[in-house]
Amino acid sequence: MRKYLFFILLTLAAFTEASAESLYDEFLGIYDAYASDDKTFYALQKLNEYDSNGKLVSETDADCLIYGNNEMTRINKKGQDLYFLSTASGYWIKNDKLQQPLKISGSYKVMEIQMQDLLRIDFRNDFCIDNGDAESGNTILLKRTNRKNTYSYIRLNKKSGQYRAEMLDAKKQKLKTLIYETGEINGITCFSSVSITDDVFSTGAYYKYITVSMKSIKVSKVLFNPVFMDELIRFFEKKS
């Protein structure tokens, strides 16, 4: 009897782990749809703010260059362009008044949103599945392996086709909720929008980061480096 019980528990544990890994792989497959190691993509985006009734409050233009897990985003804030670079070494900011890029923390805020929520999270290298904390089949707990991101844990689950990432602190208290919605851009299934809700100062208001279009462009990978931000900026489309 004990043997059977042990076998059942072992099978269940293996199934849960396999199921967790399969959820994680499925998520990463969509998340990395446009993260190529041999191509750079240029995306046009919108950053919308909604009030607690879901009414659009503001709309901000944004665009970005993506190469692997490196990303440079341009956000037009009050008529001025701000550039944010995310690489394995951290986050950097540049504008026309700063002659040298400044290194910033992932918690640097623009329009009440932290940069680490807007720029790509390197789920593959900066987080791993926390096997010590058993979650159900459609929920997994990810543990930080790199201090670049300020979130210690991420609880990831899938519900009604949506991927929900709860960003947690070291005590596993919920700080933010990011909801990834799948969509098709140029025939490729990817996360076409991300909703960001602050769970600490919860007012019901939320932001939505929407990718409108995506295209492949030729940009050298070595440009994704803070020293070459000025060179990388010239690959952003000029505004009319």
Binding site: Q80, K103, K109, V222
Partner: protein
């Protein structure tokens, strides 16, 4: 003849890549540019117009920006590079050479973290320069040389060259930099300058910065005669999502061999910018500078009025300047 052949080859090269070719026009006019000479009203009207074609190239790890054209400055017409920037990139380093904007520094008030070269309007000027950047995670090291641009544009031997090195360390809490440069000018002794700069950015919406520099004039030693200066300042950024502008309040104090000064600068920063600079200088001097800038696309208009010493009822040393810059 040499010049014609040189530019002819460049033009031919540019014409081959017609797809990447675009034309541009830029004019910059200082309608009134008063000089600070007591009791002598003086003005200049400098107009500089650039008509150029430009080309951007990106071949693997090589980047090129070339703007070649006609430059008309005060009735003189020259055919020259308006901008010419070549960058070769490696994994942890980059080499850049050509004629382009060279400027570092953060402080907007009295920045000592700049190149000591015999050109006054360094911020907007394109200069012939060669440099190498090395990247070590949070640290970047730059070494290079700026050359006498006016002479090179005329295919003449440069009268001066400045060699510089810059170490810049940046982390989320602060940015720190050290730079040193040496000016080699024909017929003059070499001049060395060094400066450090700290910028603290950890506190939300507040920047605290400090600069210090030492300049060793020719023929002197550090122990007996140095020109030194230091500046400490702080900026507060007020942002409101309902108002399309950023409000900046800057407080700064500086001290140098000539004395000390205190500045207060409230500033509105948007498409229409306004700043009021109130500067108290040692020996009872108070000077107020009003600056208005308007940005509409690539057109920039500015007006600047600097008062005379308000504490001595001096009405003669007022300065007014105005200008426009347009590019398409």
């Amino acid at each position: 003849m040499k010049k014609s052949i040189f530019y002819g080859i460049i033009f031919l090269f540019a014409s081959i890549n017609v797809n990447a070719l675009s034309f541009g026009f830029m004019t910059e006019a200082d309608f009134i540019k008063l000089k600070p000479q007591p009791y002598t009203p003086d003005y200049t009207a400098d107009v500089s117009t650039h008509l150029y074609f430009s080309q951007d190239l990106n071949i693997r790890n090589y980047l090129l920006t070339a703007k070649l054209g006609i430059v008309i400055t005060n009735s003189k017409i020259k055919f020259q590079f308006v901008e010419f920037k070549n960058t070769i990139l490696f994994n942890f380093a980059g080499i850049t050479f050509g004629k382009y904007n060279v400027y570092w520094g953060k402080s907007i008030i009295k920045n000592d973290f700049f190149l000591n070269i015999p050109v006054t309007d360094v911020i907007d000027k394109n200069l012939w320069n060669i440099k190498a950047d090395f990247v070590f995670d949070n640290l970047t090291v730059t070494a290079g040389s700026v050359l006498d641009t006016e002479s090179i544009d005329d295919f003449a031997k440069p009268d001066w060259a400045s060699c510089y090195t810059l170490f810049n360390f940046s982390c989320p809490a602060f940015t720190a930099g050290w730079e040193a440069d040496c000016l080699f000018a024909a017929g003059k002794e070499n001049e060395i300058k060094t400066a450090v700069e700290f910028l603290f950015t950890k506190i939300s919406n507040v920047s605290v910065y400090a600069d210090a520099s030492l300049k060793v004039p020719p023929g002197t030693t550090i122990s007996n005669n140095i020109d030194w200066s230091g500046v400490v300042g702080t900026s507060w950024y007020f942002d409101n999502k309902y108002v399309p502008a950023t409000f900046i309040a800057e407080f700064c104090g500086y001290n140098n061999a000539a004395g000390f000064g205190l500045l207060v600068i409230p500033e509105i920063d948007t498409k229409f910018g306004y700043s009021l600079k109130m500067e108290y200088i040692q020996d009872n001097k108070m000077i107020v500078t009003n600056t208005v800038t308007m940005n509409a696309g690539t057109c920039k208009i500015y007006f600047e009025y600097q008062s005379a010493n308000l504490l001595e009822k001096d009405k003669y040393n007022q300065l007014l300047s105005t200008g426009v810059k347009y590019e398409f």
